[in-house]
C-alpha cells in the first residue's frame, strides 16, 4: 500500500473553560498556524479541495455541527465531510480519500468544547437507549467505573499503580504547551482524592477540556510541497464491541486488540513489542492506560498492572504529551494523540522529545467503557 504523509500539525492549548472563544474561533487559530507552517492554500489548482472535520452535534448543541464550521474550515465550494465520531477516525477516512486517488491533499480538523454544555455526563448519557441504558443513568463515567473494577480484578491493578500513572501524566504535561492539567501532584494526592465513582477517584479522571487540532495530509508525491520532514501514516484499524455491557467481557480489550491487529497488519508491524517506539493512548481514566497498553500488545494479557511497575510506559514513551489524563476534549482526543506522535517523529517535540523514535502509534476510543477503538501507526 502507498504511504500517506502527515505534513504538519497544529494544536490549540487545552483548557477547562475557553469561554472567550467560539469553537469557530479556536479552529481558526490553529488553521492559521498550519497555513503558516506549510503554505497550504485553498485555490482550486494545487490547493486543498477536501476537508475532513471531526466534531459532535450533542457537544456543539448544533445539528450538522460542521455547518457552523464551514466558513473557518475554508469549505466554501469545497468538499467537506464530518466524522461524527472520535476524531482519530477522521484520519482513517482522510487516508482513504488520498489512497483512493480521489484527492491528493486533505486536511483534518477537530474541535470540541466540553465546557459549553452543563455536564459531559448528561451528554454521554444520551448515547444510551432510552429504555434500558438512559433510564439507569448510564454515562461514560459510571460505565468506565464498572470496567475499571473488572480490569483491576483481572490484572491486580492497585491504587498505587493508578496514582503512578496520574503523577507521571502530570510530569509530562508540564512540558507540553498544549496540555490542560499541568499542576504537579504526588501519589498521595491521587490516592486520597475523593471517590468519584468507585473505584475511579476524581484525580483518575481527565479534566473537562476544550480544544481544537488541525493536521495536513498529502499523497507521497505531493508531501514535499508542504514540508521537507513528513511523517508517514502507514496503518489504520478500528473495531466495535457489543453495546450492552453484559454482553461484553469488560476487561477483555476485544475491540482494541482487533483494531491494533488490523493497523499493525496494514503497516507491516509483526511484533509490536519490538517495533513500536512511542505510544499515545486515550486514557480518560487512570486504569485505561495500562489496560489499553495491554490491548495494543505491548505487554501480555492481564499484565498491564505489572507493566506499570516495570516502567513499561517509560520504555515505550507512552503519553509524553501528558495524555488524555492531562486534559483533551473527549471527541478530539485522538487528534491530540496523533499530534504528539507526529511532533515526536518529526523531532519537533521540544522538551518532551524522545530519542530514536521511528515508529509510533496513536489510539482513541468512543462509546462507554471502550466499546469502540481506533489505532493509527505512524512512521518517520
Amino acid at each position: 500500500m502507498k504511504r500517506v504523509a502527515v505534513c504538519a500539525v497544529a494544536q490549540y492549548k487545552c483548557d477547562s473553560n475557553i469561554w472567550q472563544k467560539r469553537f469557530q474561533g479556536m479552529l481558526l487559530d490553529v488553521l492559521e498556524d498550519i497555513q503558516k507552517q506549510t503554505g497550504m492554500h485553498f485555490s482550486e489548482e494545487g490547493g486543498v479541495r477536501s476537508i475532513v472535520s471531526a466534531s459532535d452535534d450533542v457537544f456543539d448543541a448544533r445539528t450538522i455541527s460542521d455547518n457552523g464550521m464551514t466558513d473557518v474550515l475554508g469549505a466554501h465550494y469545497r468538499e467537506e465531510e464530518k466524522m461524527a465520531q472520535e476524531s482519530l477516525n477522521a484520519l482513517g477516512y482522510a487516508m482513504s480519500i488520498i489512497l483512493s486517488g480521489h484527492e491528493d491533499v486533505v486536511y483534518v480538523a477537530g474541535h470540541c468544547k466540553e465546557s459549553q454544555g452543563e455536564s459531559r455526563n448528561v451528554c454521554t448519557n444520551l448515547s444510551y437507549d432510552p429504555f434500558y441504558g438512559r433510564a439507569m443513568g448510564l454515562d461514560y463515567t459510571n460505565v468506565a467505573a464498572l470496567q475499571a473494577r473488572a480490569y483491576m480484578e483481572k490484572s491486580g491493578l492497585t491504587e498505587e499503580q493508578m496514582a503512578k500513572v496520574v503523577v507521571r501524566a502530570r510530569q509530562w504535561a508540564e512540558k507540553n504547551p498544549y496540555a490542560n492539567a499541568t499542576e504537579q501532584v504526588e501519589l498521595g494526592d491521587v490516592m486520597y482524592s475523593p471517590m468519584l465513582c468507585d473505584p475511579i477517584r476524581t484525580m483518575h479522571a481527565y479534566p473537562v477540556s476544550d480544544g481544537a487540532v488541525v493536521m495536513l495530509l498529502a499523497s507521497e508525491e505531493r508531501a514535499h510541497e508542504f514540508t521537507d520532514n513528513p511523517v508517514w501514516l502507514t496503518g489504520f484499524g478500528s473495531c466495535m464491541d457489543s453495546y450492552f455491557l453484559g454482553d461484553r467481557d469488560l476487561a477483555s480489550n476485544f475491540a482494541l486488540k482487533n483494531a491494533a491487529e488490523r493497523a499493525y497488519k496494514m503497516a507491516g508491524v509483526k511484533d509490536a513489542k519490538k517495533e513500536i517506539d512511542l505510544v499515545e493512548v486515550m486514557d480518560c481514566y487512570a486504569y485505561q492506560q495500562p489496560m489499553w497498553l495491554e490491548g495494543l500488545g505491548l505487554c501480555g494479557d492481564g499484565e498491564g498492572a505489572k507493566f506499570i511497575d516495570e516502567e513499561g510506559p517509560a520504555k515505550y514513551n507512552v503519553n509524553l504529551s501528558g495524555g488524555m489524563l492531562a486534559g483533551n476534549p473527549i471527541m478530539t482526543s485522538g487528534l491530540y494523540r496523533m499530534a504528539e506522535a507526529v511532533l515526536q517523529l518529526k523531532g519537533d517535540a521540544g522538551e518532551r522529545q524522545a530519542a530514536d523514535v521511528n515508529r509510533a502509534i496513536a489510539q482513541s476510543t468512543t462509546g462507554g467503557a471502550g466499546q469502540f477503538h481506533t489505532v493509527v501507526v505512524l512512521e518517520k
Binding site: P130, A135, L146, G246
Partner: protein, 154 residues
Amino acid sequence: MEISYEDKKDCKVMTGKMALPNHYFAGRLGSKFIIALRDENKILGVKCEKCDKVFVPPREYCERCMSKLDECWVELSNEGVITNYTVVNYNDKHLPRRAPYILALIKVDGADTPFPHIVEGIDVEDVEVGMKVKAVFAEETTNTIRDLDHFEPV
C-alpha cells in the same frame, strides 16, 4: 438567553439551552419485556440457540450470528448475583438516584448476560461482587427497565 460578562474585551458568554421534544419507541420486543416487568413482575430474556446464550435485555436478532430471537423467550428468575458494581458518588440530572448509590451489573438466574441496575437495602460500603440479590418491582410505572425499581440482598 441572558448574558454574563467576563473580563475579556468584547467576549461574552450567553447562557441558554438546547431542548427538543422526543418520543421513543421500545418496539414490539422491548414492549413485551417491559410489560412483563410492569404487569407480571417477570424478567424475560431471549435465547440464541446457535450461540447457546440467554440474553437480557432482549434483542430481536443476535448481533453475532444474526439468528432471529424474537420468539425465543425465556422466563428468568427474579433473583441473581452481582457480577460488578460501582458506587456513584456524583449527582447529575440524568441519574436515577441521589449519590451515593450502587450501580451494579446483575446476572439473574437463567441468564448468561448481566444487566446494569441499582442495588439498595445495604450500605454502599458493604456491596460485593458475588452477592445474591432479588428484584424489587416499582409501584408506579415509568415504562422503562425502572419498572424493576432496584435489587436488594436476598
